[in-house]
C-alpha cells in the first residue's frame, strides 16, 4: 500500500529564504528545532514572553502528540497575542488564567507552570482549572488552530486536499493489503 511521507516538508533552503524575507520565527521553528524555551515570544504586542510560553506549554499538555514539534503548538497559540491586543477583557482573562496556573504550580511544585518538569504534574493543575473560562477558551480554539495546520497533517498520515492530484482513484483508495482473506 502507498504510505504517507511523514518527514517535515521544510528544508534548510526555505528556512534561509524565510529568514531573508523576515517571516515570523514560528514559520520555520519546526525545522530549526526552535522550542518553547527559545526567544520566539519576545516581540509580542500584548502578552508577555512568559505568558506566551505558558500558553504554548499548556497547548502541548492539552493535546500532546509526541510526533509534533513545539513549532505546531507555538503556531497554534500565536494568534492570542494579536487577539489580546485588540480586546482588553480577553487579555485580562488570559493573564489572570496564567497567573492562577502559576500560583497553583508554585504552591504545589515550587515552580511556575512552565517550569514544572513532568507532564503528569502539569495535567493535574490543568484538571483543576478545566471548567474555567480561560481553559475552555484556550482548548476550544486549540482544537481548531492545532489540527487545522496543513503542515501537521502528514504527521498524522492525512494527505489533505486531493483534487489537484486527481483524487485517490489511482493513488491508493483501495490498496489495503493486510486484511484477513476468509
Amino acid at each position: 500500500m502507498r504510505l504517507v511521507d511523514k518527514r517535515s516538508k521544510y528544508n534548510r533552503r526555505t528556512v534561509l529564504k524565510g529568514m531573508a524575507t523576515g517571516a515570523p520565527a514560528a514559520a520555520f521553528a519546526g525545522s530549526m528545532g526552535l522550542s518553547i524555551e527559545d526567544a520566539w515570544a519576545d516581540s509580542g504586542k500584548a502578552l508577555s514572553p512568559a505568558t506566551m510560553k505558558t500558553l504554548a506549554k499548556m497547548a502541548r499538555d492539552i493535546y500532546p502528540h509526541d510526533f509534533l514539534s513545539d513549532h505546531f503548538y507555538i503556531v497554534a497559540v500565536m494568534p492570542w497575542d494579536e487577539k489580546a491586543a485588540q480586546d482588553d477583557a480577553l487579555k485580562g482573562v488570559i493573564e489572570a488564567g496564567v497567573a492562577q496556573l502559576d500560583s497553583l504550580a508554585t504552591t504545589r511544585f515550587k515552580a511556575p507552570y512552565a517550569g514544572v518538569g513532568w507532564e503528569e504534574d502539569r495535567v493535574e493543575l490543568l484538571e483543576e482549572i478545566e471548567d474555567s473560562e480561560f481553559f475552555q477558551r484556550i482548548r476550544g480554539d486549540l482544537v481548531v488552530s492545532l489540527y487545522n495546520q496543513k503542515e501537521a497533517w502528514p504527521k498524522f498520515g492525512y494527505e489533505g486536499s486531493s483534487f489537484e492530484h486527481g483524487g485517490y482513484l489511482h493513488r491508493g483508495f483501495d490498496d489495503i493489503d493486510w486484511l484477513p482473506e476468509d
Partner: protein
C-alpha cells in the same frame, strides 16, 4: 435565464434550493410553470468548492445563530451548532454523502407496526410505499443511484474493505458499496467518481448529484426558473381569505423585498421551515401560519446517530475515496427482540484530521484523546443511522430573546433522546465495536452524535388536520396554496438516509401542483 417581476402573482415561489426545493423547482419549470426560488445562501459552483474541511464549512455551512436545548449530547457539545447543514444554492445536497435508500414498507406505518410506545408520538403516513414507488423510480433515475437502473456499484475503498471483512465475520449478509447518487460511470453529463474523499465539502468533480449542478441549471435552461441567491425569506403573507399571497425576504444588499405568489412552497429544511411558519404568525393565524394543529415545529427527528471508529495495527487511510463507501443493512429490520423497535443502517464514514479532532470526543483532551488521534491513519470508521422516535416535545421554537441579522428570532432546537433511541444507539455501538474487533482492531472509539445532518418531521404529513401540518401532497391543512416541500413533511423518519425520499416526494408534489393549477384549484 428568467427574471420575474416582484408583482407577478402568477408564480410559484419556493423557499430553499436544496433537495426538496431545487428538485421541485426544476420539475415545475419542465412543465412550463414559472418559478422563483429564494435561497438564503450564496451561489458557489463546483470550481469554487474547497478540499479543506473548515474552509469549506465557512463557505457553505449554515452559520447563522441557532441554539440547542434538551438532554441530547449535541446541545452540550455544540450549543450553537445543533445542525450541520448548508446555506448555499443547492442546500445540503452540496455537503451530502449521496446514500440513497428507499423506506421499507412498514416504515410508512410505524404506529400500526410498533404499537404504543410510551412518549413517542408515532403516526402512520397518509401514503404507502406503493404510492411512492413510481416516484422512487424517477428519483433514482434522476439522481443516477448506483445499483438501480443498471448502474454498477462504486468500487470498494479501504474503509469499506475493513467494514466488509468484519461484517463477514459477524455473519452479516446484506453488505455492499451502497446505493449512492454518485456516478460510478459517466452519466447525465457528469463524470465518474475520482475518489477525492471530500464528498462533505462539495464534490469538485460533479460525480455526486447535487441540485446545484443538475436540477437548477436544467430548470434555468427552460426559461421558467429564476433562482435568487442571498435572499432570506422572513415572512409568508396571506390575504383575508387565508390564502398565501407572497413572501417577504431580505436581499443581498439588506433591502426588504416582497415577492408576490400564486403558490408558496416551503423547503428551507426542518429547522428553518417551521421557524418561518412560526415567524409568520398573524391575527388570523396567531400560533403561526398553518399551525391550527399546534404541530408546527414539533416531532423534530434527527435519526439515532453516532459513530464507531476503530484503530488497527496497520494503516487504513480511510479518508481516501468516497466518504460513505458502503453499507450493512442487516440491522435495519424491525426486530423488537433486540430491545427496541425500528432498525438502523451502518455506513462507512471518514473525516479529515480537522473534523476528526472536533468530533471524536467533543471537549476531550489529554493523552486519552490524543492517543486516539495518534492512530489517525490506522482508523476505520462507520456511522449509525437509525429510526428515532418522534416526540411532541422535541421541537423547534423561536428564541425568546436572541434575533439574527434581520431581527428575526433565531431557532431553538430542543431534543431529548427517547429510551428507544438510547437502546438502539448502544446496540449499534456494541455491534460496530465487535465487528472491528473481529478483524483485529486494537481499540474502538464509540463517538457521540455530530450536529444533525438529517433534520426531519417538524411540519409532518397527516391524514387528519389535527395530527399534523400537511396532507399527503405536502399541502398544508390550513392554507390551500402553501406547500411543505422538504424533509419537514416526514411523518416518521425510517432507518435510512432521507434525501431520496425528499426528492421522490418533490417529484410527486410537482405533478400534483401542476394538475391542480391546470384545474384552477390553485
Amino acid at each position: 435565464m428568467a427574471n420575474f417581476d416582484l408583482n407577478d402573482d402568477s408564480l410559484v415561489v419556493i423557499i430553499g434550493s436544496g433537495a426538496g426545493g431545487g428538485t421541485l423547482g426544476n420539475e415545475l419549470a419542465q412543465k412550463g410553470i414559472k418559478v422563483v426560488i429564494l435561497e438564503a445562501g450564496g451561489r458557489y459552483e463546483k470550481e469554487d468548492f474547497i478540499n479543506d474541511e473548515w474552509e469549506s464549512f465557512a463557505q457553505l455551512g449554515w452559520r447563522d445563530m441557532r441554539t440547542g436545548s434538551g438532554s441530547w449530547q449535541v446541545a452540550t457539545d455544540f450549543p450553537n451548532l445543533p445542525a450541520w447543514i448548508v446555506k448555499a444554492v443547492g442546500g445540503s445536497t452540496t455537503h451530502w454523502a449521496g446514500a440513497s435508500l428507499r423506506f421499507k414498507e412498514h416504515e410508512f406505518r410505524t404506529q400500526e407496526t410498533y404499537g404504543n410506545i410510551t412518549g413517542a408520538n408515532l403516526l402512520d403516513w397518509p401514503i404507502t410505499l406503493a404510492d411512492l414507488e413510481p416516484y422512487y423510480e424517477k428519483a433514482e433515475d434522476k439522481m443516477g443511484v448506483t445499483r438501480t437502473n443498471n448502474i454498477p456499484g462504486l468500487p470498494p475503498n479501504n474503509n469499506f474493505k475493513v467494514m466488509a471483512a468484519g461484517a463477514k465475520r459477524m455473519g452479516y449478509k446484506e453488505v455492499h458499496t451502497g446505493r449512492m447518487a454518485i456516478n460510478s460511470e459517466p452519466r447525465d453529463g457528469r463524470g465518474s467518481c475520482l475518489q477525492l474523499g471530500f464528498c462533505f465539502q462539495g464534490c469538485k468533480s460533479g460525480a455526486k448529484w447535487s441540485t446545484l449542478y443538475t436540477e437548477i441549471p436544467k430548470g434555468e435552461d427552460t426559461g421558467n426558473l429564476e433562482v435568487r441567491p442571498n435572499s432570506m425569506a422572513i415572512r409568508i403573507e396571506h390575504d383575508d381569505a387565508g390564502k398565501a399571497t407572497g413572501v417577504v425576504y431580505v436581499d443581498g444588499d439588506g433591502n426588504t423585498q416582497r415577492q408576490k405568489a400564486r403558490v408558496v412552497c416551503l423547503a428551507g429544511n426542518s429547522i428553518e421551515s417551521p421557524r418561518l411558519l412560526l415567524n409568520s404568525a398573524s391575527n388570523m393565524f396567531p400560533d403561526g401560519l398553518a399551525n391550527s394543529s399546534g404541530e408546527v415545529g414539533r416531532n423534530y427527528m434527527r435519526h439515532v446517530t453516532g459513530s464507531v471508529y476503530a484503530a488497527f495495527e496497520k494503516p487504513v487511510h480511510f479518508y481516501r475515496g468516497t466518504v460513505m463507501a458502503g453499507i450493512i443493512r442487516d440491522e435495519s429490520e424491525n426486530n423488537p427482540g433486540r430491545g427496541f423497535v425500528g432498525g438502523y443502517e451502518l455506513e462507512t464514514l471518514s473525516l479529515g484530521v480537522p473534523l476528526m479532532a472536533a468530533f471524536m470526543k467533543p471537549g476531550g483532551w489529554g493523552r486519552t484523546f490524543t492517543s486516539a488521534l495518534d492512530q489517525y491513519e490506522n482508523l476505520a470508521g462507520m456511522w449509525i443511522v437509525g429510526e428515532d422516535m418522534p416526540q411532541q416535545t422535541n421541537r423547534i421554537t423561536l428564541h425568546s430573546t436572541i434575533v439574527d441579522q434581520n431581527e428575526m428570532p433565531v431557532a431553538d432546537v430542543h431534543y431529548d433522546d427517547h429510551p428507544n433511541d438510547v437502546m438502539m444507539r448502544n446496540h449499534a455501538y456494541e455491534q460496530g465495536s465487535a465487528l472491528y474487533k473481529s478483524v483485529g482492531a486494537v481499540a474502538t472509539y464509540p463517538t457521540p452524535p455530530y450536529p444533525s445532518t438529517h433534520n426531519l418531521g417538524t411540519n409532518r404529513m397527516s391524514e387528519k388536520a389535527r395530527d399534523g401540518v400537511c396532507n399527503k401532497w405536502g399541502q398544508t391543512h390550513d392554507v390551500s396554496n402553501l406547500f411543505i416541500s422538504d424533509g419537514s413533511q416526514f411523518t416518521t423518519g425510517a432507518s435510512c438516509n432521507p434525501t431520496l425520499t425528499i426528492v421522490a416526494l418533490a417529484i410527486r408534489q410537482a405533478d400534483h401542483i401542476a394538475d391542480a393549477m391546470s384545474r384552477k384549484d390553485l
